[in-house]
Symmetry: D2
Subunit: 455 residues, 4 copies
């Protein structure tokens, strides 16, 4: 039997299938049911439907929730809202048709999406803390390990590994704050805005807000149904966080190269090659780095989609969901994976220590030494630059030069200049935020408190 | 039974699941098998494996193809390459292990992706032609229908509807060319590049190219395994095409508003409202417009992913696939839907004609009339601007002014100035590319030829 | 004399000119001097330089500030930091070389940029308020003007113009909050972080923070010199605001078309055509809409630049400035122009009123009427949909049908159904956030309070 | 005298200044004059203006060109078109007003921009060749230098440096082709399309095309005035090229780190530090890498700007220019700088050679050896993986193991397995596109021919 040339062609798109959002908005079923339950209760409280009708609707919705909790997703319809209402009608008959009284899909979908974003922000903050915990744990385990600090990927000055890791802790702390700020603007109930103009029934939006856990209600119905700022803001915070993760990934990739040799990846995070038996590839870190681009794309894609839309709701807004879902999944996965990567990293302290010995890492120290002797900084900088050039020409590190050689460049050099070491350089950087061991110890303690305090 | 609070949590990500690409690269199973069949045949031809071994491998692969053609997708593995090889081993045993001789996943995935892009370019070109056909058909059915041409969304000069539609035909023609140009660079066989450095077996890459339908073979193995230009180029061509579709969608949305009232959407392309019974929303057009943002996002996302990657293959490159697949699906669906939208558009010729009567659409005509009488264009423009302002003040269209009123602004106006009409204005624009009926008729004929010739 | 073929070629790029940032970072001269003054004072307070030296440095810097305040920009150097230090050396000699003691360009540029962002956020918030004021003013002047509210650019339900305008007020309110949130993270002093590792002098960073008006100091030196989150966050807030402005621009462009005819642009905001004398183009609104893309581009461009950078400072970060400056200029200009556009908009109330009479704008009202008679909403919706279809078939608006015709579709229709009017529909939408006149009046008052309170 | 608090505020934006494009479109003065000269000649040829008038106009334009060629730019006006026409009127009086006969700024600006893009494509292709030349030159000077080839930044297999450099040569070759393809679509004359509908004068567009060096003329006037595809396509080709340059920059940055130590930057391309005297930072390479983001941003920004614009010309299109100019400047500068970087790179051959000895670079070789002995590839791969793990455990490289140790893992190993060397591994990769010295020599020769042939 010859296989047909193209037995599984790209499925024919129809106008209906093109508009169909159920394949992706089905993820919102739980939010949609929660919103409908609150709406039905409110309708009854306000006498818009009878208590009995509301009870029937709420029971029907609870039954659907249970079906979906424990069974496969078997609803059909053009979107999750219609699919659930249709299932409700199968269960409780015509009274299902009363649920949509005073409500529009425009405010309904805005509600569902806000509930989703609120929950996801919580998850993101938890996952960020997970990575912070991993970084902090690694830092605490290596409080006295030094390595070269880099600028321009050139060895610059020695730093403590814990100090380096805490830089990422700080970035993530800002990410958490940024999500918290976005939450304020997501935490606004849109339900009760109708299609665009408000609702002609005596609804109680404060009750809805309480039921659904919103701290505010929207104040303009036209804005409420066309606002997707909270999605863009979630994407922007995610993009920023992904940029941070990509930087961490880059450091890990560099450190695990043969050339740097500073770390070894945990067994689960190093991958073999299909052809090169010796390879231990940092695939997970590379993928985190690569996925940053994807989230950046979702952000700018949604901004482009929103550009130039007239008020109020336009179907273009349906494009918000897939970008949001994918960005959320990507961010959460990358945070978890990064936490695992960091937690299982094996630090090769000796290799780091060895690296601090090369690359003229203490040159700045020497310039500061001369400043201490009264030489203006710019002059001191010039003197040491010439000294370093001389040492390079001799193929020596600074510590290998004799005092006499030092003094050829400045009479201010004394024997103590040759005592400058990685340890003394580290200890000297005692300014707030600096890498001196005492500072870093305090920073570790503060980070630990922040992490525990932020519950 | 109380439903559990969160019975279907976001699945726990593991290092393995994070790297797993089978959930999306399974789409490449057909390409992967085709590549392996060609590879096995080549290995035998070159004596690297025996004919018998190759036969066994090819038969096994054919059997897998048949399974997948007619059955569910039931392979497992970390990616499509390993999944198929594992299935092959189940079928034919240890000899399956010889298939990967001299091959790496790096050149294998590059091959699969190039095969996919080549096929998809063909589909895209076909779908573009489908939309061109719809535009041309509509234009041919309305050869003498005029409507206002707009600049700045202000009525500017009368044009033929066919002329307006042919503007989109031209954009799409460029899109087809752009895909054709991209095809040249996709149509290069990477297989035989090994992991990065080439292959130490006496392989025959020209044979592979012939078998797999490539017109060229790559000339540098390091480039071949790290090159994703052809994906970026596909995304760029798709983004450009989506920008065109978004403009067409915008015109259709405007035209189907009550205010313009130029067209009525086909029944399948107009959607009702869940709350407003009178609505006939151009949802499909809006969604096409909105989806442009998504494809722009994929383009820039992949560029960001590629940025700054050292040679050669890095795992970041795995991020190419989902963007590509989604962009391709989006583009193809939007082209088809746009074709349907256009083909079923009901043109309201009277409304268009009525609109050409207002908005001082013939003012440029009058300026050109004065130029014909020897007035320098800049002066003529000024005279007519004052005339229009006067008419607006009077609440009249130009045709409603008396000759005397005309002459208050210039003695050059004669009775024939008042004979200027939409028809005469159209007829006058006889320059190549202009909207004169004879030009448009010729353009329609040329478009028809191009469409048929490009088979 | 024959003109040379290419007398003004693109200037030859040299390695030095390529790196040169003075052409754009000169904008930071004021911030740079302020930072240096504070630094010099701190050095003296801490005994790192003598009081006399510091006095000389501060006087020199003051003199440079005065030169730049009143004269042309005549500094030279590879960047603004070196240019000012070089000028200082010309003025005060060798002691200028002491200013850089303990400081690096890495923390210096971070400081300058944070000062710039903080100031610009203030300007942006002021400009946002300016536009809010214009919107609110227009709304207050048209408290009882109704127009069709649109979804999908189809007439949906009548709304008050003031309600429509307040939707934009709300968007802008969120924009202001977003900038305020970003300010918290910009308002952190990086100075005193040294090149990356902290400073080996007994500096006082709290003093610096007080002098320079920062409420916090950075807690990790490596993060401090490589953090550009505050720039990305400014760009993200700007992009969001530009998306809002592009939507407002779109509404204005639509409204000023002949087809809508809802507004007339102020004379300064309508532009003529070089060829069509009758045109009054909404160029300024179009340009605002178009400029949204530019700011989106800057945002994603900077994210891409940051992606995958290892710690700490890398020269790539220099790319932050031009994007930031251009985005800030663009945003501020667009806010001001939008304010002018809105403030000078002439509303054509009659045209708006006329439009509310067509398009079956009251259909939802009728469905709600039936709900009031006990018909479940879904049924009521179906009945009215059929009624509207019938009316369209008859070429009539709903108000033109007889009661008998109404009753063909439902016996629940009574004479009062025919009393439904735009006014009654507006009045009915009394839910919080709805368009009922009393609600809108309250919303206007609240907006006025917010605007005045936020001074 | 106390300096005023803010003596140089951000200049007040006015509606006129906001629309003003002269500050940036002045770059198009040469193109604008060329277009006007051709237009005037054509008008005379066709008898639309007299020969005398045309002569006067052409002389006037020539005089303006000379002024601008040799003097400062002193024109004023809202855009370059009006500025030149105004200057012309000063020079030749009222007859200047005849120049715009039959022309619109819409087709005029499209012309200017196409001329600019065509020229810039030529410059870009030249600059690409310059970088290809630098790469090829370096490769030719190091034909037998080997270094580790990397995947996942892990040492994978040895390659020739020349092979590595030629990978970039290939990328750039595609870039040149891509620009050439874009040129076809830029090389279309739009002039003669009028404002949007064509021209009512007997113009000769073929003559214009010949005069201005276009190979085609546009066939639809509405498309011609609203088409900016050629700009997007230029930006897309530039973005792709920048992605390539960012990868090359990354390699150079890595190679010039202490850890890799493979190259030393030319003196002009290594920068010192303001605080660390020993630093030699690869600033230029970092800046090239960083600037990729900027060009990506311009691309997506313009796409967003174009999204959803109705036909035909809209003022939003004015946003095309600054993005284009900046992308062109950036690309050209980055190409030149990269060429300089590469040309002056000092290769440290010994360091590269040393690196090929470590990292188990020959493991794949060993697996292929076993395949040669009849072991299926998958098994061979497994055997060598275990051998490598053993060697790592022993702290030895493969060459340091005894034959006996080899045979513990497979009896197929013979003494010749221990003869495998970097040289033999390189020599073995003889497949087309592989890194075998003979292949690379042929590839160098072919590259040289291509470079010279493409004149």
């Amino acid at each position: 039997m010859t296989p047909p040339k193209n037995p599984k062609p790209r499925p024919k798109v129809t106008p209906a299938s093109f508009l169909d959002s159920l394949p992706f908005d089905r993820r919102l079923w739980r939010q949609d049911i929660a919103g409908s339950v609150a709406w039905a209760r409110m309708l009854a409280r306000q006498g818009i439907v009878s208590d009995k009708e509301a009870e029937l609707i709420v029971m029907g919705l609870a039954a659907i929730r249970e079906e979906l909790d424990y069974g496969p997703f078997n609803l059909t319809g053009e979107d999750i809202h219609m699919a659930i209402e249709a299932r409700l009608a199968q269960k409780i008959g015509e009274v299902a048709g009363k649920l949509h009284t005073g409500r529009s899909r425009n405010d309904q979908v805005a509600l569902d999406l806000r509930l989703y974003v609120k929950e996801t922000i919580g998850e993101a903050q938890g996952a960020i803390k997970g990575l912070q915990e991993a970084l902090l744990g690694l830092a605490e385990r290596h409080q006295s390990t030094a390595l070269p600090g880099y600028t321009h990927l050139q060895r610059a000055q020695p730093v403590l590994l814990a100090h380096h890791l805490l830089a990422y802790f700080e970035m993530l702390e800002r990410d958490r704050e940024r999500f918290a700020d976005g939450l304020k603007r997501a935490d606004v109930l849109p339900l009760g805005s109708g299609a665009l103009a408000g609702v002609p029934y005596p609804i109680d939006r404060d009750f809805l807000a309480r039921e659904l856990g919103f701290s505010q209600i929207s104040t303009n119905s036209m804005d409420a149904v066309s606002d997707r700022d909270f999605v863009v803001e979630f994407l922007a915070a995610s993009a920023m966080a992904m940029a941070h993760l990509s930087r961490l990934a880059e450091d890990i990739i560099l450190w695990s190269s043969t050339e740097f040799g500073f770390v070894e990846l945990g067994a689960d995070y190093a991958t073999g090659s299909s052809i090169m038996p010796q390879k231990r590839n940092p695939d997970a870190a590379e993928l985190v780095r690569g996925k940053a681009g994807r989230v950046f794309g979702h952000l700018v894609g949604l901004l482009a989609t929103l550009k130039g839309l007239p008020l109020t709701y336009n179907k273009d807004l349906q494009e918000d969901k897939e970008a949001l879902f994918d960005a959320a999944d990507t961010l959460l996965a990358c945070l978890e994976i990064s936490a695992g990567l960091v937690a299982t990293l094996k630090v090769k302290e000796e290799a780091m220590a060895r690296a601090t010995q090369g690359g003229y890492l203490l040159a700045t120290e020497l310039a500061d030494y001369l400043v201490g002797k009264g030489v203006p900084f710019r002059q001191a900088h010039g003197i040491v630059a010439r000294l370093v050039a001389y040492a390079q020409g001799q193929g020596k590190e600074l510590g290998e030069l004799s005092l006499e050689e030092y003094r050829r460049f400045s009479p201010h050099f004394g024997e103590d200049a040759r005592q400058i070491s990685v340890a003394s350089a580290l200890a000297a950087r005692r300014s707030v935020g600096g890498t001196a061991p005492e500072r870093v110890a305090a920073a570790l303690a503060a980070a630990r408190r922040r992490l525990e305090g932020s519950g």
